[in-house]
């Protein structure tokens, strides 16, 4: 494996019964880069994210976070080692306030999982970090609103914020802009650019403006295989990609 990689996939395979969803993916993410994963519907992008984050087990292959092998570990261990993810379908705590949602996300980083002998309010560091995160997500005025009562794009911001609260080195965002209007998307791109600074970002997104504007490198996944990896310009001019994916849309 490559010692400089932030995240490294080696021969990753996944099959459900006799159907191969992921057919041997090798990929290295450079620390600090913003890397997009694109591909037609059903290519296996979300499945790949599930495999990396520990939600699904691999059929074959290995995943490394830095030097640490993370394939085979449960999601909470993977998260604790420094990889966080957001979900395509908003996945927050609907009946809790925005503040409480973020505090639960921040709290874990302070080793406060099973603590029952101390009031959470006394951990001022947790409260401060939660407030800071609220500010950065521009949700400060919604702190006491229930997550279920937020607008859709606010929920998406919260979703991203919860992934980032654990101060991960690597962040996986699964279609963060899905279902957003043009303005909301622009706003979310700004937000992502801002709060993932210094982290390695791996993002699945269908909005090509976002993908080509935001990423340093792009990988194209088709039928469970990566057919190309490169800078946005390289990808734009790659004939295989044009044929397999972009061609369908530009035609």
């Amino acid at each position: 494996m490559n010692a400089q990689s932030a995240l490294s996939l080696r021969g990753v395979r996944k099959s459900f019964g006799s159907i191969d969803i992921i057919n041997g993916v090798d990929l290295d993410l450079v620390p600090g880069e913003r890397h997009a994963l694109i591909g037609p519907n059903g290519a296996g992008k979300s499945t790949l994210f599930h495999l990396i984050s520990g939600q699904l087990g691999l059929s074959a292959g290995e995943v490394f976070l830095g030097n640490q092998k993370i394939s085979g570990l449960p999601p909470d261990r993977v998260n604790h080692l420094g990889l966080a993810r957001s979900f395509q379908i908003t996945n927050v705590f609907p009946g809790l306030s925005v503040f409480e949602n973020l505090r639960l996300a921040v709290m874990r980083q302070h080793g406060l999982q099973y603590v029952f002998w101390q009031s959470i309010a006394r951990r001022t560091q947790v409260t401060r970090e939660t407030r800071e995160l609220l500010e950065r997500l521009r949700l400060a005025n919604r702190a006491s609103t229930l997550a279920s009562e937020l607008s859709y794009s606010e929920q998406r911001s919260l979703e991203i914020g919860m992934a980032l609260a654990s101060r991960p080195q690597v962040v996986l965002l699964d279609e963060p802009m899905a279902g957003m209007s043009r303005e909301e998307t622009d706003y979310a791109v700004d937000l992502i650019r801002d709060i993932t600074r210094g982290k390695t970002l791996f993002i699945v997104e269908h909005d090509m403006d976002v993908v080509f504007g935001l990423s340093d490198r792009i990988s194209v996944l088709v039928y469970g295989r990566i057919v190309a990896t490169g800078t946005p310009d390289e990808i734009r001019s790659n004939p295989v990609v044009k044929e397999a994916y972009l061609g369908e849309e530009t035609a």
Partner: protein, 427 residues
């Protein structure tokens, strides 16, 4: 916030002063109410806050009670601990048994979790009569309260104060628990375990701990019961008790901290009063539960919250008439229900059958509420029908007035807020 503290202080003061004015029988009922309140709050930590519906919580209540009885009988009857500290035995037992049972039960969620807890409860219920050494067979195990620290614990007033002190202490601890990190994680367990897992939490371990905290306090409630009645019997493990704590908690409002305590206290008192008056008291309890679930699904505490919010918005004056009408409607509907239930209960009773046979008349008159009613007369059944009809009409009027008051207040506040909204949008 301040008004809440004052209200709490008044309630505590009333509870402290209560034995001075209550008859011994009512003091006894008070002890039962306190124990039921603690049990319901322990149950609701699991069910209301962590979203895990347990159908077998009487197991931990019972285990706490039996452990306490054995501890009281230990050392040749002198007791393992001085009597006031006996609930600690229930706490430790509840905690340990809860850790083991919880480890298995929380491997699954939702219906499966409920089924496992039900199975654990039923397992104890069917095993207990056969384990004579531990559970004393069908007769149970009895014990005696020993004097300690100059107190004899012979009168039920002393037991009342012992129970009150422990219940207040435990409710305080349970409340503080909700403010701790683990208490917050419990809310996350209820809301979304998947998200919790991806935030780096060990969901199973957190569930086991919350489960064990709940069973620990259930064990204390069981211990207090053992101290109070100086015995423990395997019927403690019966599903009845598990069902009762569940019903009490939902009637009170399972997601509110003190809701279950209120529900349990009221329902225990209701049982105490009504079971003396009528043999159909369980039916009334059931009817009350159904009525609460149908019309105020968030329970008594939820109702209080809604009403308080409405009063704040509209002012008490605007709603006063509606309050009175709601009260009148409830009274009329209750009277209609009671009349029907009591009448039917008497008609279908064994006694009535014998009476008819002995008297030689097919439908002898029934005496109820100091009157004689003929079961086949239209006038008899007109009574409940009229009560229901008037009750429903009054209820409709009460609800209409309520809505009108709310609408008036909403219109008023909209007009008042309009300029603010406009300026907010322009910035």
């Amino acid at each position: 916030m301040d008004s809440r503290i004052i209200l709490g202080a008044i309630i505590v003061l009333a509870l402290v002063l209560a034995p001075a004015v209550l008859s011994p029988a009512l003091v006894n009922a008070g002890i039962q109410m306190l124990i039921a309140s603690l049990f319901a709050c322990a149950f609701s930590l699991l069910c209301g806050q962590a979203g895990m519906l347990s159908f077998g919580h009487s197991a931990f209540f019972g285990v706490g009670a039996f452990a306490t009885v054995h501890a009281m009988n230990a050392v040749g009857g002198a007791g393992l601990l001085p009597t006031p500290f006996m609930p600690l035995v229930g706490a430790v037992t509840g905690l340990l048994v809860g850790l083991v049972a919880g480890w298995f039960a929380t491997k699954r969620t939702g219906v499966y979790f409920a089924m496992i807890t039900l199975a654990i409860g039923e397992l104890l219920y069917s095993l207990a009569p056969h384990l004579g050494g531990w559970f004393g067979g069908e007769a149970g195990v009895s014990t005696m309260r020993m004097p300690a620290f100059g107190l004899s614990f012979g009168s039920n007033v002393q037991v009342y104060y012992l129970t009150l002190a422990w219940v207040l202490l435990c409710l305080g601890l349970l409340y503080l628990f909700t403010r701790t990190p683990l208490g917050r994680v419990a809310l996350g367990l209820r809301e979304n375990t998947r998200r919790l897992r991806f935030l780096g939490y060990n969901v199973h371990m957190a569930s086991v701990l919350v489960f064990a905290v709940s069973t620990m306090f259930a064990g204390v409630a069981g211990a207090l019961q053992a101290i109070n009645i100086e015995s423990a019997n395997y019927v403690l493990f019966n599903l009845d008790l598990s069902a009762e704590v569940l019903l009490n908690s939902y009637i009170g409002g399972v997601t509110f901290f003190l809701g279950p305590a209120i529900g349990a206290a009221l329902m225990t008192f209701f049982g105490y009063v009504v079971s003396d008056l009528t043999t159909s008291w369980l039916l009334y309890k059931g009817l009350l539960f159904v009525a609460v679930m149908l019309f105020v699904p968030r329970g008594i505490a939820g109702l209080v919250q809604t009403v308080a919010a409405s009063v704040r918005r509209c002012g008490f004056g605007a709603l006063a008439a509606s309050f009175v009408l709601h009260g009148v409607a409830a009274a009329l509907l209750a009277c209609g229900t009671v009349f029907s239930v009591e009448m039917l209960q008497r008609i279908f009773s064994q006694d009535y059958l014998s009476l008819a046979r002995l008297g030689g008349k097919a439908w002898p008159a029934i005496s109820l509420f100091g009157e004689s009613w003929r079961p086949l007369a239209a006038a008899t059944w007109l009574v409940p029908l009229v009560l229901f009809a008037i009750g429903l009409l009054v209820l409709r009027e009460a609800m209409r007035r309520w809505r009108a008051a709310i609408e008036a207040a909403t219109r008023g506040s909209d007009e008042a807020n309009d300029p603010a909204v406009a300026s907010g949008a322009s910035t």
